[in-house]
């Protein structure tokens, strides 16, 4: 009995000392980090935010070290609270989830100057962990973003928008998928592309008479396993392999094409967890004939049963990859940003994939293309080779930047999860075993990882990603 008593006493003692050890732990489980990794200063006073991963356990301070490039305190900038001996101390109350200090720009950079200030979190009063972003770079001049987190608004399960993302500026441009039908190439060639985000298909006819009455050809419709690869543009993005042949300077070579305009997004959101990007009504049929008009395009178009047609002239604009035309609204529409101002596009897409031994067009929601015509390229890295965190510029394999706009494609996600009955079930699944490397038209190289594609309740069409510049 005595023995037992001593044993119990020992345990109680041990338990107490264990508790004490815990209390004295120097590390808090709360982490702090800058909300952004870099920022191009536009206004005179810029708030700079530091975030807490959980509410601050106690009131306290965060100390920041200051590193200057071609700038001096008071001449070029000041901070509030003020810096002293290259340090800024920011205080926060208990339960704070973020804290800000203000950066005051005094003198702008000239066009050729490279001027910036880097703040580094060097310590906290409560032993908080310092997570990436440990630093923020504030640029006086226009500089490429060091990376951030973005959520392109493709618009939920019907994915009505195409979102063009420029990584170096963090800017996103949205276009309504359903708003255009044809893109006219601005490069040297005379080429016309189809809007493949709505499942369009084009079939060359024998005739050169646009006023000849045509009938629908339902075999052109792209559905499960149907449609023809030659009736859609090259899915890799090769501009010399479009469904519509190069527009010839000899008018008699330019045949009439029957166009299937594809499907609209569904009228109402589908069952939670499913997508309805092409689940809507048909967009109908048109016939077109495209001719050259000097260095411009001349487009003849009409409804298929019509015996007359309309004409529109489309000019090339070399700042853009394409000029876009809506046959339904009968006008030129804005879709893509300038060709060197976007890198990746969140869209729906018709890929060409094997179905048994034959190749068929197949529709994908949640697709990402890279700007091949603008010379933005991408490739995939598996985390089994490199972790996202450890990947640097030295690890980039330039031979993998192939001429294919599908190198991100649908690889970032899948739609099959193991179900409770052992069989796979359809469900959006983000692939976390990979990330992507992207080289933008200016030559900046970024690593990019997707952090989501559906909401917590599984509603599709809500992609999120993070990226960081490689140095």
């Amino acid at each position: 009995m005595k023995k037992n008593f001593i044993l119990i006493l020992t345990f109680v003692f041990l338990a107490f000392t264990a508790c004490n050890n815990d209390d004295n732990a120097p590390q808090s489980d709360v982490a702090v980090a800058f909300a952004e990794a870099s920022y191009n200063l536009t206004s005179d006073a810029t708030p700079v935010q530091i975030k807490f991963s959980k509410p601050a356990p106690v009131a306290g301070t965060i100390t920041l070290d200051v590193t200057e490039t071609a700038v001096a305190y008071t001449t070029d900038y000041t901070t509030t609270p003020a810096a002293a001996s290259k340090k800024v101390v920011v205080s926060f109350p208990k339960d704070a989830t973020s804290v800000e200090f203000t950066f005051n720009k005094i003198k702008n950079a000239t066009a050729t100057e490279v001027k910036n200030v880097v703040f580094t979190i060097s310590g906290t009063s409560f032993g908080g962990q310092i997570s990436s972003n440990k630093t923020i770079q504030l640029n006086f001049n226009e500089a490429a973003s060091l990376g951030t987190a973005l959520s392109p608004e493709v618009g939920g399960p019907l994915e009505p928008n195409q979102v063009y993302v420029d990584l170096s500026s963090g800017k996103m441009t949205s276009a309504v998928r359903n708003s255009w039908d044809l893109g006219f190439y601005s490069g040297a060639d005379f080429r016309v592309v189809l809007n493949n985000s709505v499942k369009m298909a084009a079939k060359q006819l024998k005739s050169t008479n646009i006023d000849e009455v045509q009938v629908v050809d339902e075999t052109m419709i792209i559905a499960q396993g149907t449609g023809f690869p030659e009736q859609v543009d090259d899915s890799a993005g090769d501009i010399t392999k479009t469904a519509i042949a190069a527009v010839s300077s000899t008018d008699s070579d330019n045949k009439v094409y029957l166009l299937y305009l594809g499907n609209k997004p569904a009228a109402a959101a589908p069952v939670l967890g499913k997508e309805g990007a092409a689940g809507g009504d048909t967009r109908g049929w048109k016939k077109i004939r495209v001719l050259r008009s000097g260095s411009d395009y001349k487009v003849q178009y009409a409804d298929i049963a019509s015996t007359t047609h309309e004409e529109i002239v489309i000019s090339k604009n070399s700042a853009y990859n394409f000029t876009f035309l809506s046959l339904i609204d009968k006008k030129v529409v804005n879709v893509e940003p300038q060709k060197n101002q976007w890198d990746i596009n969140f869209t729906t897409f018709v890929n060409v994939i094997p179905n048994g031994a034959t190749m068929v067009p197949y529709f994908y929601p949640d697709y990402v293309t890279n700007n091949l015509n603008g010379n933005a390229k991408a490739y995939q890295v598996l985390t089994s080779a490199f972790t996202y965190e450890a990947f640097t510029l030295a690890n980039v394999d330039n031979t993998k930047f192939t001429a294919d706009q599908r190198n991100i494609g649908s690889n970032w996600r899948s739609t099959s999860a193991p179900g409770p009955d052992g069989n796979p079930m359809t469900q959006f699944v983000l692939r976390t075993d990979r990330f992507f490397v992207i080289k933008d038209p200016a030559g900046n190289v970024y690593k990019l990882k997707f952090t989501g594609g559906a909401k917590a309740d599984l509603e599709r069409g809500h992609p999120t990603f993070q990226y960081a510049i490689l140095k």
Binding site: A37, E218, T358, D421, T451
Partner: protein, 717 residues
Amino acid sequence: MKINFTLFAAFVFCQISLAQQKDTIVSREKLSEVVVTGQIEPQSIKKSVFNVRVISKQDIKQLAANNLSDVLNQYLNITVQNSGSDGRSTVSMFGLDSQYFKILVDNIPLVSDTGMGTNVDLTQVNLDDVERIEIIEGSMGVTHGANAVTGILNIITKKGGANKWDISATIQEETVGNEYSLSDKGRHIQSLKVGHKFNDNWYVNIGGNHNDFKGFYDDKQGKDYIVNDNLRGYSWLPKEQWVGNAMLGYQKDNFKIFYKFDYYGENVDFYSPVLVPQDNYPFPETFFARDKRYLTNRFYHHLNANGKLFSKLNYNVSVSHQKQERDAELFDYQLETKKESNNNRFTYQSKEVFYSTGTLSNFFNNKKVDFQLGYEITNENGFYSGAAGTFLDNGLQSVDVRKRLENYDIFTVAEISLSDKLSIRPGLRYSIQNTFKDQYASSLGLRYLFKKGLEARASLGKSYRTPNFDELYTYFVDSNHNVQGNPNLVPENSTSYEVSFKRTCDLKSGGQIANNLAVTFLDVDDRIDLVLTQITPSKYKYININKYKMWNISTTEQYAYKNWNVKVGAALVGISQKLDLAELGITSDDKFLYSLQLNSSISYNVPKWNTLFALYYKYNGQQQQYATGTNEKGEAEFYLNKINPYSWMDASVRKSFFNNQFEVTLGARNLFNITNVQITQGSGASGGGTHAAGPQALMLGYGRSYFLKLTYNLNFN
């Protein structure tokens, strides 16, 4: 064949080494029992026109079987199909699934999530209050109605008891493969039964059972594993079950009445291997998983009365109300905080049934002719939530399906003894259905008793399987898909023929030998399948299209001598299926594909020690089946898939102490350590295309496991 010989040799050897000892423990199984299934009146198995197989209480005890799944593994011609990932195990007989096999309790079908007697999850049938199990193979549509295609299994529960008080408490601990711990691994069972006789007329039985299966981890890491590499969760889902039952009975002279209530509750947890990251920039992502819980409740009420009318006619009437409801609860499990959120519970599937059956017999007061007139009323109200199947409307919105199936059947059976030896038994059923065309079933049985204990039987039976909800109401039509159920489906029709011989003889030495040889033929026509009915654009629809034929020869030998009891069985099953791919223009080869099954059990009683040793063995030979695949040209083709052979072996020792008050059973299941069995795919089945299938392995068990069962019996008057 080698195995068979070895067993036989073992038997011979054992016979030589026998020693005379006195029985104290009840070990000797009666070779002649009274059966009720498919009979006009309870009668000896010998007189039955049907070939009735019996699983005795002794077998159930010796296998330490808690539910039907634990015991049917050893039965010839039946394969138990486990789905470890949703915890269900169902029966497959002659290669047809559980939709063709009907499970009854005290002669009335048992409700399941989706069926009445069919599609029963065997783990949901507790065996605590079971007296014996009777099985009849073949189409039993006349006496048991729809879906009794491959056979029926009737669980006879215990009614009353031998003493004024019969109390029994059990604790059973099992390993799951090599996994065991008191808190979060293994299988833990507790049960209590109380029987009381108030007087010669009234009795009551009450019981409860708790079966806590903690899941089989295998290479998985449980629910709190936070790495997104597909290892989170369980290989077999954890499952907790509660059973409560009560029976109140009264009997006086020829009149018997009982009311039985049964509650069954179940909780199955699915922990998804897919972790979903949550963007938390600039901090690292946090993770949650979309988990799921299935909660099942079953309520069973059964009132049965039987006796004599006008002191002449025998009547037997049952009225039953049963309801099984399976709820799904979806929730997000946050890995960092281990908390559930967004819990959303809804009814997934449910079935509520009002059922009544009754018979009148003994019209002629004549031993030569017995005549039975019966009715059966089933009123089923089935519900499938939109999440339980592919039920969408044209706007791709999910639709719940709620349908009522009713049938009003009358049936009649005559049993005519042309002599002491020859009995003939014609039967007919007519079923008025509210959803399908009216159905009928017929049967004819013959029994002849030769000299020297040889019995011969022949029977013909018809039955039908009614289409299920998926087949009737699936609807998924959008720009990429067109898959449709078919409300115009007709029930599948089956016909079965059986000829069997049985011989029982008592040897002068005191031993008993029983041999049984049966040949069965079963034909199912108008089988329903989902096929391509149009190629461009592709349309899939359920239609009555395929054919199935099966023939089977089986034999069992049973020897009982002194303290030995040995059973050996063998069955050869040949199955021919004609699968028609409709618009794709090909049909499968309908040649018969054969597979062999062997089973045997040996038990030996040591009366001096009050100990019974038992060994159960079953061999499942290679099974073959045609499956569709895609060839290099992208065309559909049939490939012959093979399931490798595998064996089950269970062994146990049971010993009783203190005048049978205390009973210990120690044993092992799955001695061959079977987990998965490989399916070899026919050459060329590369499974390309857009919706390819994964690698094939059939989940069978979770490996060699051990159990210890302690029972305390208290009986007094």
